[in-house]
Amino acid sequence: MSINKNLLIPLTAFVLLVIVLAFGFRLEDPHYLPSELIDRPFPEFSLKDLHDPGRTLTAADIKGEISLVNVWATWCPNCLVEHPELIRISQEEGIALYGVNYNDESSKAIAWLERHGNPYKFNMVDDNGTLAIDLGVYGAPETFVLDKHGVIQYRHVGAVTRGVWKSRIFPVVELLQTQMGEG
């Protein structure tokens, strides 16, 4: 029983297809988008300080040390979920935390922080969402890890829980701290 080799082509093509499709299973959540901003400096901006409208903040204000930038809003339910962890991080981990108040109303945001606690060194009022767009943000909350030069090293989409901190964010921070020590 000799097989005409040409007739095996459809079978081969099909098996290749199945392999490609099987790959699909190990892939991430379909909603998840990797960030374009990794290894790029934090975008330039000029936004008001939430608690001090007279003061204008720029990218220079978040340089100088390893930091986290958290994009949040009062209309975002997961922001409330991660808030206690953010407070803990700001108090216990010794890392600077800045906030970007995204498409929100300042009065609401101030009241919200009063009620739930304020872990941020300061908050940038991004009421047009332009900074968020420059950051490639597509949903709140999102958290960025910056090195001391203000270069983005990591982005996390979704609530920052203790588990997320331990498994994803802290390793990056630790690495940066070690590099800083050596550098």
């Binding site: 097989i3 005409n4 099909f14 790959f23 699909g24 299973f25 892939l27």
Partner: protein, 657 residues
């Protein structure tokens, strides 16, 4: 209790389907005719039990039995009755039960209407179909059981059906699609059965033709309806997005089209025997692939059902087994098949071959674009890419244009060989005339002249003119014209109407793509905006109530040169249970244009954002689809395909040989 009955019934159906796989085939092997004869009753039993199961689920919906998880997720006490019933197939588990029911239905139909097959063939075909049924039911029972209960604590009220699905479209679109998808299992089973006998003759082509045409017809209807549904439901005037799930239905359709053409050639001339078998395998394979794409979560789509890797793995394994097995069988058994009929490059066989090759290229391109994001993500270790309409249009349209050209010269070419010079002389005048007419019409009636549109419409006209000329010449030859009309085989009329349908759709697509106009503007009561020669006036806004929603309804008047044309009432609905906002566009449908109005958000004062669209000839897209679907049914009814009964009974032993 009823839900448990339904569940149990499904298990029984599984048992019967396994019997259907094993017993008749064993009967063939052991030459025990009693076993072979069982296939009829087994098929009937299978169908009855799945139907019962389906009815039980329906019962749960109609009686608001929210202890059944599937019902609680997809229904609500306030849901109108027709949607409670169609919610049955509104989500994954139930729709797959429908899929299985349709499979059992086709199996029963084959067992009832294939008396002309030898008992041997019949047993094989039904055995294969039984095997497919078994796989589907097993999938449901193991991974997607719609009868799962949520006890002892279950919700008092259901989550409600997605408002977008509370529509006539849900009642018809999925069932029609499934009739099509699953219907391709019939030629598939025939093809595999023929391969297993080792005798690849043209008889199987004759048996399969009506079934294939019918399944293809249903698929055409399903796709056409889906497109129309998206158009009036979504609110932005689109009707085809090359979404993964849309492609999942389009690919089997393309293969199915190649199959029906290939079956014709195999039946008439005995050519392409192995190609046709391969196409039959592929048509159903793409149906299964479609099911996989929609239900596994591997591809991102707005249409996709549950994202559940466990289900995806099952379907993938099933795919591998069924399709991989079939292709392996093909490779082994189709070896050494050569047809004796020869034909020249001018013959109709060649035209059909070119047609099928072009369709294959189209399928390949669509498949590539659809799964490319997966390939890219695997290649680049996580980067995401999008492949959307700009890509698909760029690769599909040129191939489609080539297909249309073949469509003109193909049907009127002769088998074996066509005298080239005479033939092309006959074509020149209609061609020239069509292009001239198209250009003139477009020049006169469109706001700007688009040469490509003129070409496409010209080709459509040429196809039509050519079909008419051919038909007239056939009808003309005898003295009594009326009789001659009915002496044409039905499959000829099928071809005529089908190709005409394509020409109609093609025209509609071309004109609506080129000459649609759309404006998103801010309108306050009393304001007027101009659109393609129409004046659109925003009259007023008021609140209205529906059965399960509350809405802001606008009153928009459209006039032309002062003449009142229509008043439209677009709504912005708020569904209380699901807490969703939804835009319900209002459309003034017309044979030559649609006027389309939808509401956006209120913007300050009493002004609203309003979208108005002028869509010329958009209905032709779906009219063409209807024609194409009709052509499949007409062809299937052709008497020539109803092969005479072979005497069974005394000759039974011999027919088993």
């Amino acid at each position: 209790m009823i839900a448990e009955l339904g569940h149990f019934s499904l298990i029984l159906a599984l048992g019967l389907s396994v019997c259907l796989v094993v017993l008749p085939a064993t009967g063939v092997y052991l030459r025990q005719i009693s076993l072979v004869r069982l296939s009829g009753s087994l098929s009937a039993g299978l169908f009855v039990f799945i139907l019962f199961s389906f009815v039980c689920l329906g019962h749960a919906f109609v009686n608001d039995d929210f202890s059944v998880v599937y019902v609680a997720r997809n229904s609500n006490t306030a849901l109108p009755l027709q949607y409670k019933i169609s919610a049955l197939w509104g989500a994954h588990e139930g729709s797959f039960l429908l899929w299985s029911l349709v499979m059992a239905g086709w199996t029963l139909a084959v067992s009832q209407f294939s008396r002309s097959l030898t008992l041997d063939m019949r047993a094989r075909v039904l055995s294969i179909m039984g095997g497919l049924s078994a796989g589907f039911i097993l999938f449901i029972l193991l991974t997607s059981n719609p009868f799962d209960r949520d006890l002892p604590i279950y919700p008092r009220e259901g989550a409600d059906l997605n408002p977008l699905l509370q529509d006539f479209g849900l009642i018809v679109h999925p069932p029609l699609l499934y009739f099509g998808y699953v219907g391709f299992a019939v030629p598939f089973a025939f093809a595999i059965a023929t391969l297993t006998t080792g005798k690849l003759d043209a008889a199987w082509a004759r048996w399969s033709r009506p079934w294939t045409n019918l399944a293809w017809s249903f698929l055409t209807m399903g796709i056409t309806l889906g497109s129309w549904w998206a158009y009036y439901e979504l609110g932005w005037g689109g009707w085809w997005f090359w979404d993964a799930v849309e492609n999942a239905s389009f690919m089997p359709w393309l293969v199915g089209t190649a199959l029906i053409h290939s079956l014709a050639a195999t039946e008439k001339r005995g050519v392409f025997k192995s190609w046709t078998v391969l196409l039959a395998i592929f048509a159903f394979s793409f149906s299964l692939l479609g099911a996989f794409l929609v239900r596994s979560g591997v591809l991102t789509s707005v249409h996709a059902f549950a994202v559940d890797p466990e289900r995806g793995l099952f379907i993938l394994a099933f795919l591998l087994l069924v399709i991989g097995g079939s292709l392996l069988l093909f490779a082994v058994k189709a070896t050494g098949i050569k047809s004796n009929a020869g034909f020249s490059w001018t013959g109709r066989e060649t035209m059909l071959l070119v047609n099928n090759i072009l369709l294959a290229v189209a399928v390949g391109a669509v498949l590539l674009g659809t799964i490319y994001p997966l390939i890219y993500e695997a290649m680049t270790d996580g980067r995401k890419i999008s492949v959307g309409p700009p890509y698909f249009n760029a690769v599909f349209v040129p191939v489609a244009m080539l297909l249309f050209v073949v469509m003109v010269i193909g049907p009127t070419s002769r088998w074996r060989s066509t005298p080239v010079e005479k033939y092309f002389k006959k074509k020149l005048l209609p061609a020239g005339g069509s292009f001239a007419l198209a250009s003139t019409l477009l020049f006169l009636f469109t706001p700007r002249f688009e040469p490509l549109a003129a070409v496409v419409v010209g080709v459509a006209l040429w196809i039509t003119v050519d079909l008419i000329i051919d038909w007239v010449s056939r009808v003309r030859h005898k003295s009594n014209r009326v009789i001659r009309l009915f002496q044409q085989p039905l499959s000829y009329y099928g071809m005529l109407i089908g190709h005409l349908g394509i020409a109609i759709s093609m025209t509609g697509i071309c004109l609506t793509v080129y000459f649609s106009e759309e404006k998103d503007i801010r309108m306050a009561p009393g304001e007027v905006v101009e659109l393609s020669g129409y004046e659109v006036k925003f009259l007023s806004m008021k609140k209205v109530r529906g059965p399960n929603f509350e809405a802001n309804q606008g009153e928009i008047e459209i006039t032309r040169d002062g003449q009142h044309i229509v008043t439209l009432h677009p709504q912005k609905r708020f569904y209380e249970t699901a807490r969703n906002m939804m835009t319900e566009a209002d459309i003034d449908p017309g044979l030559f244009r649609d006027l389309y109005v939808a509401l956006g958000e209120p913007i300050g004062g009493d002004a609203w954002a309003v979208r108005v669209q002028f869509k010329p000839f958009v209905r032709w897209v779906w009219f063409g689809g209807l024609f194409i679907a009709l052509s499949g049914i007409i062809s299937a009814l052709d008497k020539r395909y109803r092969v005479r009964r072979i005497a069974v009974g005394n000759n039974a032993e011999q027919s088993l040989a």
